[in-house]
């Protein structure tokens, strides 16, 4: 079969499409899912956030930005945004700091490393519902931590965050950190293990103290791991819902509302699909606001380098 072309330009194209045909056929379900469910449904939701849908989607009732105006005028939504910001900042900072400290300690090849690793990772095996319930009980003043410590003799001990409007999110934060930090620690430990041992020897010979080595040498070398960890933490923050439902039911009052809960309740309990769509579009927007500049830095910048 001669490869010399005889001027059949357009006849060449089908061959390229047919290359790797079995692989392409196998990936059709995933491609369809991605297109229909992720992209398609997202666009559908965004469109319907501009409509007056109540119990059922009503694409013909266009209302423009009405839903958004109502959204940003609702106190419950504003409180949930505030709570998300607090939970997000706390989650991010403490997950990273505690996770990295634990990983660094485990990396020092201590005895019983496997035992500690298992202990730290156990909470991750629990669902958020179980976590929320458990911590609701632990933080209950009448038979939780407060009463136990008071029983030990420390009468003045108070630890009752869930019943106070101002501190309830901290109680939720503790539960969330307890559940998720172990997993962050494991991912960071894997990243630490990937660092060439000779780097440590080099810094030791040069007399660089351990803390400085971590900050100036090791952490910058683990950039890819930290990006992964950030994505994991961020996705955990955005979707926090079942933890709230189990631990505080959004209370006291609306003091621990979060956006995901707002969306679910508007859509399925208050029979107000339009509001729910608007709120979830706002959540998507906040993710994009963070994601797009980062993607540009990561991938757009590289082309300039070369």
């Amino acid at each position: 079969m001669s490869l010399a072309n005889s001027g059949q330009g357009t006849a060449r194209r089908p061959n390229k499409l047919l290359r790797n045909l079995p692989a392409k056929i196998a990936s059709i379900p995933m491609v369809l899912t991605a297109l229909v469910v992720f992209v398609g449904c997202t666009l559908w939701t965004i469109y319907h956030s501009f409509t007056g849908s109540r119990l059922l989607p009503a694409p013909e009732k266009w209302v423009g930005l009405d839903q958004y105006e109502r959204l940003w005028g609702t106190r419950r939504w504003l409180v949930s945004i505030e709570n998300l910001a607090l939970y997000g900042a706390g989650s991010l900072i403490f997950s990273l700091v505690i996770g990295f400290t634990l990983a660094a300690l485990l990396d020092r090849k201590i005895r019983g490393e496997a035992v500690f690793r298992t202990i730290f990772l156990y909470p991750f095996a629990l669902s958020f519902i179980v976590t929320g319930l458990a911590w609701q009980w632990i933080l209950n003043p009448d038979f939780g931590l407060q009463s136990v410590v008071q029983g030990w003799g420390w009468a003045g001990f108070e630890f009752n965050p869930l019943n106070d409007r101002n501190t309830v999110m901290y109680g939720v934060l503790i539960a969330g950190l307890w559940q998720g930090t172990g997993f962050i620690m494991i991912v960071l430990l894997a990243g630490l293990r990937g660092i060439d041992e000779d780097i440590w020897k080099a810094t030791r010979i040069e007399g660089i103290p351990a803390w400085k080595t971590y900050i100036v040498v090791i952490i910058p070398m683990m950039r890819a791991t930290f990006v992964t960890v950030l994505v994991l933490i961020a996705s955990g923050i955005i979707k926090v819902y079942d933890l709230i439902v189990a631990q505080t039911s959004g209370g006291p009052g609306i003091a621990s509302e979060v956006p995901a809960k707002y969306v679910i309740e508007r859509m399925f309990q208050s029979q107000n699909l339009g509001q729910g769509f608007a709120a979830s579009t706002m959540m998507l927007l906040s993710v994009l606001i963070v994601l797009i500049p980062w993607a540009y830095l990561e991938f757009g910048g590289k082309k300039k380098h070369d």
Binding site: D196, D198, I199, K201, A202, R204, I205, E206, G207, I208, K212, V216, V217, P220, M221, R223
Partner: protein, 349 residues
């Protein structure tokens, strides 16, 4: 400056004894090479000297000061690693400066040292690049530069050329030797490659199983190996070793007389002769059929199956006119033979 003494160094990791009593005096300014098979303890010994690990017992002295309990950073040494261990997110200049900045050295002094080292190693054009943008040889030079700027009492090099390709290794060997001639600082070099050891060392320490087998200059090691292990380790292809016995001044192996006029006690022993020293001779003591001919151009390597059993390897200069299947015979010249007793120790002939 740069004199190191090791006294009865022992190191065990749990039940495993890696170093079993090392006594060594390293002279100031010498290029000393630790060589030996994998697992012999040479890298562990280097780590003991560096202070990265403490010996289970024994002492390390630098310039007559006991530094066994002193931390690695305070021993005034510098190390070069097989994997270079450069900081990948820092430029070459930052890599060189990082350790010095940590000692609060004035910036002018740091800059001067970096300038001197980078000129000496010809990396002055690379100072603003990252390690990822350098070739293997350049990275190795940066690693050496990082050691030089510390102005150490001694350099410790842990198989630094093992990651380089063969051609680069040859040129880097010469560069390292030239560097040593120039700065005259003690260098302790670990390798498993005996060619590197032979070409660069002032003295070689042959290690096996945590023991020192022999310490000598390269040529002494080649000409007078102290035992069977050193005899077989130094020189490639390895020395031919024939085990047999001494009787009445003759060495007998498999019924052949391989050596005469040996004024030594009777008993079992081993006779050694290097492949390059065998002489083609019709009717020679070692005869057999050629199993394999390897023509290297400059020399020819023959693998011979001996008629009385066993085999040998001979290296003939030039391009010998032989082929597989030919019958050949060799003689062992008297001045080139090595004799070892029943315990494998060298017996002067």
């Amino acid at each position: 400056m740069g004199q190191i003494t090791l006294k009865d160094i022992r190191k065990s990791f749990g039940p495993v004894d890696v170093l079993k009593g090392i006594d060594l005096e390293i002279e100031q300014g010498e290029f000393l090479v630790f060589v030996g098979p994998s697992g012999c303890g040479k890298s562990t010994l280097l780590r003991m000297i560096a202070g990265l690990d403490k010996p289970t017992s024994g002492t390390v002295e630098i310039n007559d000061v006991d530094v066994t309990q002193v931390s690695a950073a305070d021993r005034g040494l510098a190390m070069v690693f097989q994997s270079y261990a450069l900081y990948p997110h820092m430029t070459v200049r930052q890599n060189l400066a990082f350790g010095l900045q940590n000692t609060k050295m004035p910036k002018a002094e740091i800059d001067r040292r970096i300038a001197d080292a980078s000129t000496m190693l010809e990396i002055d054009g690379l100072l603003s690049r990252r390690p990822g943008q350098l070739s293997g040889g350049q990275r190795q030079r940066v690693a050496i530069g990082r050691a030089i700027v510390r102005d150490p009492t001694a350099f410790l090099l842990d198989e630094p050329l093992s990651n380089l390709d063969a051609e680069l290794r040859v040129s880097m060997r010469a560069e390292l030797s030239a560097l040593h001639d120039r700065i005259k600082t003690t260098m302790i070099y670990v390798t498993h490659d005996q060619v590197e050891a032979m070409t660069m060392a002032d003295r070689i320490v042959v290690l096996r199983g945590g023991h020192i087998e022999q310490v000598a200059t390269p040529l002494d090691l080649f000409n007078k190996p102290a035992n069977l292990f050193v005899a077989g380790f130094i020189g490639a292809p390895a020395m031919n070793l024939f085990s047999g016995s001494l009787e009445n001044g003759q060495f007998l192996c498999d019924g052949r007389v391989l050596g005469t006029a040996l004024r030594l006690q009777d008993g079992p022993g081993t006779l050694g002769i290097r492949p390059q020293h065998l002489i083609l001779a019709d009717g020679g003591a070692l005869s057999g059929k050629i199993a394999l001919v390897e023509s290297l151009g400059i020399e020819t390597v023959l693998h011979v199956d001996l008629s009385e059993g066993g085999n040998l390897i001979a290296v003939l200069p030039g391009q010998a006119a032989v082929k597989a299947g030919d019958q050949v015979a060799f003689d062992i010249p008297r001045d080139k033979r090595h004799l070892f007793d029943g315990q494998g120790q060298r017996v002067p002939v």
